[in-house]
């Protein structure tokens, strides 16, 4: 059985490479997002084609880089419990870079703008605006990126089975269904096992539909059922982006206990929650299909119900657990710990408008309005991305006593205000029925876009400070030095 981790271990060079890539790509994708909002606000004039090309890159880039950042966090901590392959770590990054190259070529050279969701049959119906070659490059790029993640997850699966004997043990089934002997796997292992189960299935489904669409592109007589294609795409997309949060939250499980000097153990409630989440993340995806009335009604009702149930583990176990840890802890706040604490708020707060949108009757009047990017930007910007930047601050911190500068504090609060304002501008516009993914908005919709753009500037400025700070301290990321400051009043 694996042993507890030594505290404050430095990052492997591969993890540092993942994080440096994440910092750069996140920033670039945020700039693309800002340009899209500025276009809708009529502050700039890019034209519809550039808007949709940027939209395609922003979506694909953000989902991919969230995967890279989440994988870096999972790999860093999981590698302290089980033996992961460094070669596979690099292979995933290499395939990611190669896939990004194909996607960039497809969009910037080939003019592909079919959206990151590549909804069948749009990639093969361009009306002459992009070639089959451009569509194939995009689909192949996504396939290459997905293959890299599939390799990484297979290696994680191998290492977990080697270290813990089976997935059942890694998910804590002996303690969950038998006597709780207090020897359940640590939260990192439970979370990694959950992510691996759901991601392996999602990546195979995603790769299958991408391969089918590539064949269809050149052999149109090979037809795909549009409903099947849609279900496969949304299953893959939903699970993959959610898995990035479940990977990144490992940073919270591992780092907050070091700051508070309090343990975060996998007790029976924790195990029940993660095992339920394993199932719910996979079966919730019909909430993307609620307006596809032709799907079986039971499936859509299942999406509605699981949408409500899925909030319980987030609020009651992980969110509440973070509050318990921090409450009367004397925690020494710095930008890293602040971002991680903020991330739990962002995840929990973003889940509120999300599950409400998954209510069938609500979805009937709010599906594909700006309400949707409103809720996912809440839990991605304030949740997942805050976890990633929080981890970057932590891992690159030169010592436990290193104090934040004024720029870090200002950037943190700018990020909080910017992200909240940005997400609320989307949500309010959604309430006003503003359609999503529109290059041009009606004049009465433009004021919301202008407010959103102003907040987006704040986010980009804050993220620039976070990224520059991380890159400037990169040399410290590999050291085994103590990083988390001691809580005030803590016993020696």
């Amino acid at each position: 059985m694996a042993t507890p981790p030594p505290p404050e271990r430095g990052a492997h060079a591969g993890v540092v490479a993942y994080l440096a890539t994440s910092a750069g790509v996140l920033l670039l994708m945020m700039v693309f997002g800002l340009l899209m909002r500025a276009e809708q606000a009529r502050f700039v004039s890019l034209g519809a084609q550039w808007f949709y090309q940027l939209m395609t890159l922003h979506g694909a880039g953000m989902v991919g880089i969230a995967g890279i950042a989440g994988a870096a966090i999972m790999w860093h901590f999981l590698n302290q419990y089980v033996a992961l392959s460094v070669r596979i770590l690099y292979a995933n990054l290499a395939l990611f870079v190669a896939g990004v190259g194909l996607v960039l070529g497809a969009v910037l050279v080939g003019g592909f703008h079919g959206g990151w969701t590549f909804l069948y049959p749009l990639p093969s119906h361009s009306l002459g605006l992009w070639s089959d070659g451009a569509a194939a490059a995009f689909l192949a790029g996504m396939l290459v990126i997905g293959t890299g993640f599939l390799l990484l997850q297979l290696d994680v699966a191998r290492a977990i089975v080697a270290g813990y004997g089976s997935f059942a043990r890694a998910l804590g089934w002996p303690q969950l269904f038998g006597r709780d002997d207090g020897r359940a796997p640590p939260p990192t292992v439970v979370a990694s096992a959950m992510v691996t189960v759901v991601n392996l299935i999602a990546l195979v489904v995603g790769a299958s539909i991408l391969a089918m669409m590539l064949v269809n592109l050149y052999f149109p007589e090979f037809r795909i059922d549009p409903m099947l294609a849609k279900a496969m795409i949304y299953f893959f997309g939903h699970v993959f982006i959610n898995a990035t949060i479940y990977m990144a939250v490992i940073a919270v499980y591992e780092i907050l206990p070091r700051y508070t000097r309090r343990p975060w153990k996998a007790n029976r409630v924790f195990l029940a929650s993660w095992n339920c989440s394993t199932l719910m993340v996979m079966f919730i995806f019909p909430h993307h299909l609620l307006m596809d009335f032709a799907f079986p009604k039971w499936m859509l009702v299942m999406g509605h119900i699981i949408g409500y149930l899925n909030t319980v583990p987030i609020l009651v176990v992980t969110g509440y657990g973070a509050l318990t840890l921090v409450y009367r802890s004397g925690i020494a706040w710095d930008t890293g710990s602040r971002l991680l604490f903020l991330s739990m708020f962002g995840w929990a707060a973003g889940a509120m408008p999300a599950f409400i949108d998954g209510t069938i009757r609500v979805n009937y009047v709010m599906h594909n309005t700006l309400w949707v990017p409103g809720h996912f930007h809440t839990y991605l910007l304030l949740g997942m991305v805050a976890m990633a930047f929080g981890f970057m601050y932590y891992i690159a911190k030169p010592s436990a006593k290193t104090a934040d500068g004024l720029a870090d504090r200002a950037a943190f609060w700018a990020y909080v205000a910017g992200s909240l304002g940005f997400a609320l501008a989307f949500l309010y516009a959604g309430k006003e029925s503003v359609a999503r993914r529109y290059a041009e908005h009606l004049p009465e919709w433009v004021p919301y876009d202008r407010i959103g753009t102003a907040f987006a500037v704040l986010i980009v400025a804050a993220a620039l400070v976070f990224a520059v700070r991380f890159l400037a301290r990169l040399a410290h990321a590999r050291g085994d030095q103590a990083r988390a400051g001691a809580p005030q009043g803590a016993a020696a």
């Binding site: 009306l127 307006m291 009651v316 969110g319 009367r328 069938i360 009937y364 029925s433 359609a435 009606l442």
Partner: protein, 178 residues
């Protein structure tokens, strides 16, 4: 209006979450060294929190499953003969079989697509969505709606479908019942 309720409830819930986080943040300064008793108290409270959530979320979860947009019984909301409209989405235009309808009489929209996925979103004269479904190739989705207000309604595409997605609109008129 449903959208207004949704906005208010979401905001209230997000503020409640924010209140919880602010509470822990404001009380994070003075350390309670013994974590086990604190954790025990927190777990007791968590059990109540869990059952509170089940009650607060459970009721709307079940209640909102009544009267789903998929249910054929919705045509009974209005009175009189059913008006039927066949709607087909194409890149980037809508083809509607009727463009004059009557308020108070049930309407059945049979929606499909001639090429890629589109979203058939019906906007009232105030430009608020009143109903929608997806327009998919090879599939017909049926929307049942009874208009209560006369006026000019617009159909906007609510599924990204390429370069002129934002320009894919149509109009129809709902008149007073004769």
């Amino acid at each position: 209006m449903l959208q207004h309720i949704v906005w208010t409830v979401s905001l209230a819930l997000m503020m409640l979450v924010g209140f919880g986080w602010s509470f822990a943040l404001l009380r994070s300064g003075i350390r309670e060294e013994e974590f086990a008793p604190l954790q025990k108290r927190a777990y007791r409270l968590r059990t109540r929190f869990f059952w509170g959530l089940v009650a607060v979320f459970g009721v709307p979860m079940v209640y909102t499953l009544i009267d789903l947009p998929y249910d054929a019984v919705r045509v009974a909301e209005g009175s009189g003969a059913v008006q039927e409209v066949r709607a087909t989405g194409h890149m980037w235009r809508w083809e509607l079989s009727e463009n004059r309808l009557e308020a108070g009489r049930p309407v059945v929209f049979r929606v499909t697509s001639g090429d890629v996925n589109h979203g058939f979103g019906i906007y009232d004269p105030d430009m608020k969505i009143v109903a929608q479904t997806q327009a998919m190739p090879g599939v017909t989705n049926t929307v049942r709606h009874t208009f209560t207000r006369a006026g000019t309604y617009r159909v906007l595409c609510l599924e990204y479908c390429g370069l002129a997605h934002h320009d894919m609109t149509a109009e129809f008129t709902v008149g007073e019942r004769s």
